[in-house]
């Protein structure tokens, strides 16, 4: 069985946020509602201060706490290892947001993260929370899988572009955007990444490039001690590192 996962090479990542923009365009995200975020933070103090960045999609955990806490089963894990939300079942209790250690979930009905409020600029009359002119085609929208523009009162998050990935051939080991036959099935952030820092493939297949990279280059997972077992791995090499923890300035 396929187990989709992602590898992000932090030595290659330039923090350009093309992944954030591509995700927002592909999935019709509200400004600021970055399913695929790049976190910027500083370490050290002047004059030894460093600006750092860290790309962070949903980790699509093998053992997802968001799925376990959901009281209705709206959040679930597919057989190919992707964590999705059924917007027709979500009651907007936000327990999944409380339980996600990575902070990758967004509640639709709250003050706009970026002004002006685009939900008011592009209001919707058809049950969507908003209706931007660049929205995803209706044929691709799938509320049972949390794909498209969400209705009001639900939680949303990165789907690994499930509307693309799920159409890939079942025996695919890697989805390589440089291969024209696979490009349209590859997640938007992987396709758009200018330095090619992102890789997407089957973690359950030891022959896949992603599996080999994790093994050969010591792929690490974020907050591994919590036991969620993310399916997003980071390659840190010699010149990069995952933030040791929450990048909190001690007060």
């Amino acid at each position: 069985m396929t187990k989709w996962g992602m590898v992000i090479d932090l030595e290659k990542c330039t923090g350009c946020q093309a992944c954030t923009a591509a995700c927002a365009m592909e999935n019709s995200r509200l400004p600021g509602e970055n399913w695929q975020d790049v976190i910027f933070f500083t370490e050290g103090e002047y004059p030894s201060v460093q600006l750092k960045w860290f790309p962070r999609p949903c980790m699509h955990c093998e053992n997802p706490s968001c799925v376990h806490v959901c009281p209705t089963g709206a959040t679930y894990r597919t057989s190919d290892g992707v964590v999705l939300i059924d917007w027709d079942k979500c009651i907007g209790c936000k327990y999944c947001m409380i339980a996600c250690p990575y902070g990758v979930r967004f509640y639709t009905d709250e003050k706009p993260l970026v002004a002006p409020d685009m939900r008011k600029v592009f209001g919707s009359n058809d049950g969507h929370s908003w209706s931007p002119p660049w929205r995803m085609p209706d044929s691709r929208e799938d509320w049972k899988r949390g794909i498209g523009i969400q209705p009001r009162g639900v939680v949303s998050k990165c789907t690994f572009c499930y509307h693309r990935v799920s159409k890939a051939s079942k025996d695919t080991a890697d989805l390589d955007p440089s291969d024209p036959r696979q490009r349209e099935f590859t997640p938007a952030c992987v396709v758009a990444c200018p330095p090619g820092a992102r890789y997407f493939g089957d973690l359950g297949n030891p022959e896949s490039e992603v599996s080999k990279m994790i093994a050969d280059k010591n792929g690490v997972r974020l907050l591994d001690q919590l036991g969620n077992k993310p399916q997003v791995y980071y390659l840190t090499g010699a010149g990069a590192a995952v933030p040791s923890n929450r990048a909190l300035k001690r007060t």
């Binding site: 509602e33 975020d37 976190i39 910027f40 933070f41 500083t42 860290f54 962070r56 706490s65 376990h68 806490v69 959901c70 009281p71 209705t72 089963g73 709206a74 079942k89 979500c90 009651i91 907007g92 209790c93 936000k94 327990y95 947001m97 409380i98 339980a99 996600c100 250690p101 990575y102 902070g103 990758v104 979930r105 967004f106 509640y107 639709t108 009905d109 709250e110 003050k111 706009p112 993260l113 409020d117 009001r152 009162g153 639900v154 974020l222 907050l223 919590l226 036991g227 933030p243 923890n245 929450r246 990048a247 909190l248 300035k249 001690r250 007060t251």
Partner: protein, 435 residues
Amino acid sequence: MNSATEPRNFAEVALYLARLWRQEGTLRFLAIALNLGREKSLAGEMWKYGVVIGLLSFAFVAFMLLTEGGAAFNTSSDGINWGLAVSVYIFFALTSSGLTFIASLSMVFGFREYYSIAKRCIWLAIITLGAGFAVLALELGHPFRMLWAMPAGMQYLSPMFWMGVFYLIDLVLLLIKFDRLWHDDWDSPLSHFLSIASFVAVVLASGMLGLVFGSMVMRPMWYGSFTAVYFILTAALSGAATIVLATYMAYGYRHENMPEPLRSMASGKALPKVFATLSGIALFAVVTRLWTGLWSNLDGLEGFHALVRSPAFHVEVWAGLALPFALMIAPALQRRARWQITAGALVLLGMFIDRYQFLVTGQAVPMFKGAWASGLVEYAPSVTEWMMAVLGFAIVFACYGLGEKLFNLAGDPRHRLREGAEPKPAYAETGARAD
């Protein structure tokens, strides 16, 4: 304030109201309904102000939710996800659980002196739980969807699912139990069974509410089985404070107005003993939790440092727990109505703050939110959130006034003996001062 006659069932209530409407005309009927009678009474005033304030606050909240939706709250995805409304729900749900614990003292554990407050406890438990559910429903994105999605989903791994199941069972049992007491059935096998089942359900419900937070290993300020115990213990305290205040309210804040078994309990050692024990335990629980939080270097516990710097936390600890504890162990003060009422009010204030602080500081350490949220998250409830809290209290006040008027909340299995011998008071400290 107590009603002289009690309707036997809701059909009788409806018939009486219909007859009254026909006799008095619509306007006068509405005036009587708003005052709960032709003459002014404390119950009528509570009902009237509760209904008016409740309707106004509901209208405000409904308007804001219809025009702004959840944007009317100050909660956010990159900050505090659960805000004041959820803490108000926790406050009411745990108060309800505590009231059931207090009712169980007589109905399950056989401490007969507490019989005289049991029926009032059950009624208050029903309405505080109802108020909590009402506030929570306004906070949820899709409250009506919950009614089918939770049973259909059967998410047995979710603490929230079990919290819902146990609180629903608790509410149903409370309603049946109250119906039995309404019909003067205090000691049938069914009534005993309901009391025990209700006690078990409420232990599970309040404990499970604790585990909604206690299961969250990624939120270290909440994590651990202690949270469930903490919720159960502090629930008992807020239940005790509520019944003290509500009982005094019913008798014009004076011992002299109380019927004998109740007067003995209030002016004797029984009430201060329970109150001091519970506030002492709660104080111990709050301080030990703070100690481990401040002592540990674990990332995510920084919220405890913010807690110590918060003035509200000090109000909770010193005024809401330490002072009531001191009042209730001081021999010169513990039996006086004035200080018992003060202690009750302070404890409720303290518990309200506790639920809020517990909830908010537990989320104050942001989870991977980047440079824009690198300190602790700031949060202050919006006007809409405060109005939801007001609505919750208005529901409790209105329903308490209604219950006081409609049902004989001072009901006691011993009142059936009134025709015969007067039962002995539980505590015969007749010299106890009642001020």
